[in-house]
Every structure is written in structure tokens, then in C-alpha cells.
Amino acid sequence: MPFLSHGSYRIRYELDGPANAPAYVLVNGLTQYAELWAAYREALVARQFRVATFDLLGQGESDKPALFISQDDQVAALHLLVDELGDGPIFLAGISFGGLIALRYAIEHGERLAGLAPMSCFAELPPQLFLLGNALRTALILGGTSYLQDLLLPMNVSDQWLGPVLDKLDSVKRQGWLVNDVYALQNLMESFLDFRPLTSQLSSITLPTMILNGEFDFLTPRAVHETLRAEIPNSALVIIQRAYHAFTLEKPALTADLLARFAEDVLAGRWQGNKAVWIAPEEAGGELIAFPAGYDHLRAIPVQGPAT
């Protein structure tokens, strides 16, 4: 199991796939760990990508700083990993908290990247997200990791995913509960206490950018992704049908396919962001559908958008 060193801390990472291939770096969400990308490793390696996964500081097998941890440290850790990948094209994808770290990396080191895929991501904390974040932190403090998982699960995945596992939720939660320590999670959450919105810096991301947002994500709803779409010049927003916040867990085949197609389009010179809005297919390999012209993609009912 290889490790990178950031100061006195160790960051556990894994590289899969051919060494000279275009690379995908995948960044975990808050309570996640690198093994959760297993299906992506398999799918992307099969599409001739090299795949880099890692545990953020405070997660999984990486060191867990006891008290002080900043998002700058996470960006620095990601930078170390990217340095391991050589000079070939690198695509960076991150989910939720990991999406935010990916955004920050793209702002600071965009020249190292060929493309960016923020998923269930945000650049600022509007009141609902701010209050939800605070409530989740309080849940962690008062009820531990298990209670935080209890709150996150119904927010993150659909009834279709939850239904079959409802009578074995303890087993579903167990690995996440084992690898996550309360203090380490709390440190990660408290790295938002001095959070400054990234919105004004988004326009500096000139990379091809595919923004992925679950249709029913109410933790980070469409509006927070809209900020990314509106500010990042070469971006497109892709809405994942019937998906919630953690669609990377629930729909790995579809999401891995979208990531691969995005990178293949960029490498072939076909990608045109145009700040377009697309609807993802229901299954991997299907066609993307342009969001119907004239309708407002920020609404949940088919209301016509403002005239442009």
C-alpha cells in the first residue's frame, strides 16, 4: 500500500491501469474511503485510463491529524498525488467535499489538468447548505458516526437503493463506521468554519468541465451547481436522472461511463462545454439529451425559463 508524505502525515493512495495512459484522479466525499471507487477503477481501466484513488487526510488509511486540518492541506495532498502521475493528460473528478477540493485544485493548478468533473459539488454555502452542514456536524457530535450515517443515507441515495438493504442497514453502515473516527470527521467538517466562497475564482477555470448533479439532490441542489455552470466558461451541466447526492455510489456504471466519455471527448477535441445543460441517459452507454429549450432547469416542474 503506497503512501505520500505531507509534512509528518501520510496519505494512502492507489494507482491502477497502464502507466502511460491518460489518468483519472478520483476524490472522495466526506465519509468515504478509496475502496468505494472500486467499480470506477475497473470500468475506467477497461477504457484504457490510469486511475488514481486516495484517502484524504483524516479518512480511511491516511493519517488523521488530531486537531488542525485545513482544505489547503487536502489540496496539497492532491497535488502530491497528481505529481505521481507524470506529464500525460490528467482528469480530476470529485464528489461533494471531494468535488470542492477538486475545484480548489483546478483554480490553483489548472494547468496540470486536461479536464475537471465536479460532482454533487458547490462553490459557496447558501443558507440551506450552511444550516444542513451545521446540523450534520451537531449530529456527529451528539450521536456519533452512526447517527450521521443515519441522516446521510436517506439524503444520499434513493428508495430503490435503500429498499433492498433496509433490513441490513447495520451491515451497510459498518465499514464506513469502522474507518471513520468522530474526531477526524469533525475536523474535516470544521475545515468549513473559515470557508470563503470560490465563486469569484471559478471563471479562472478554463478547463473542459463536466458538472454532474443528481436530479433529486437536495443536499446540494441544482442551484449550487448552477453557480459552477454559470461561472466556469467551458463547462456543461449534466443532470443524472432519478439520482440523489451520492449517485457515484448508487449509479457507478453510468457515472463511470459519463466520466470516460467526457475524457474521451476532450482528448479527441470533441468537447464543447458551451455552458450547456444535458440530461444523462438512464443507463451507461445511452445518449445524453439536451435539456428542453425554453424550460427552466432550476425548477422541479416544467416552467418556462426567462427569455434569453
Partner: protein
Amino acid sequence: MSEFFGPLDPQGRVPPHQQTRVAAFLTSAHGALARQFAFALPAKLASAWQTELNAQVYHEAEIVSLLLRATSWVPDLALGYLSMSWETAWFPQPAEGIPDQPLARAVGLATLAHAVHAGIRPAALLPREANADDPFVMALRRIELESGRLLQAQILFLKGPELLPHRDAVSAALEHRHVEIRKLWTSALEGVGIVVHKS
């Protein structure tokens, strides 16, 4: 060696020698915290934050009392020298690099409490099939949950404005305490066939 207690008996209970070793360690650590918090507690509370200190004293004592009653104790010859090494490790260690000695001692106590509350996860040693109705199993789950709550006092204090100028000293003292306590915990468990998973 396993990452979890076991083998469990047919009723899903943890082997008594493992119960004894773990409960002895936890009793020693939380007992030391109860004593040190009690000494730090003034007879009459003068500040709002001291209400938290008062709560810590009694919660630590509750953990000790719970373990005394919930554990199936058996003789453990190694406990003699292990207890000596544990009790020595709990001695107050004023944080280096903080010239204000009362503050340095308070930081030292907070780092010990942080390392015990955050770094020791006894419930994570329970295998999936452990009997949830067993008192020892319930006790470990309660101690781990309670530790997460108690930890908040240490986090608030160590991240507080009073210690901002000493952030490097606090961080160094805390990381040192975590390493020290993790080493003791790991070594205590190895003696009863349990290897602590790093995370």
C-alpha cells in the same frame, strides 16, 4: 491475531480474558482522567466553562463504574506491569512551549483526554456477531459514544482563542499524546490476540 474480539462464545460474548484486559486499560485511563479533572475542579464554579469540567468528572467516573460492573473479570498476570506503564503514562505532562504554566498544565490534561476520547475506540473491536444484549458489549458502545461527546470539551478548549498563539505547541503536544496512547492501547490488545486496525 484478529482486528476484533474473539472467538466469541455461543452466546456472542467476548472472551473474559479480553474483557479483562480492555476493561483494565479503560478503567485506568478514564480513572486517571476522573482524578485529574476532579483536582482541576474548584469547590465553587467561577466560570461557565467549569460546568463542563464538572460534567467530565462525573462522566469519567460513570465509565469506570460501568466497566467495573459490566466486565467478566478474570485473573490477568500481565496486568501488574501493564498497569504500572499505563499509570505512568497518565502523569500530567504540561505542554512544552507554553510559558504560562497553569495553561500548559491545562493543555497537557486536555491532550490526554483528547487522545483517550478520540483515539480509543473500544466498540470498533466488537465483531458483527457480538451480542448486543450483553452488558460488556453495551458498555463498550456506550463508552465510545460518550467519549465522542466528552471530546467536545477538549476540542473547544484546544481550538479556543486562548490557545491560538500556541497552535504549534498544542498541535505537537496533542499528536505526541495520540501516538503515546495509541501505542499503549495497541500493546495492551496485542497481548490478548487483537491487532488494532490503524484507522
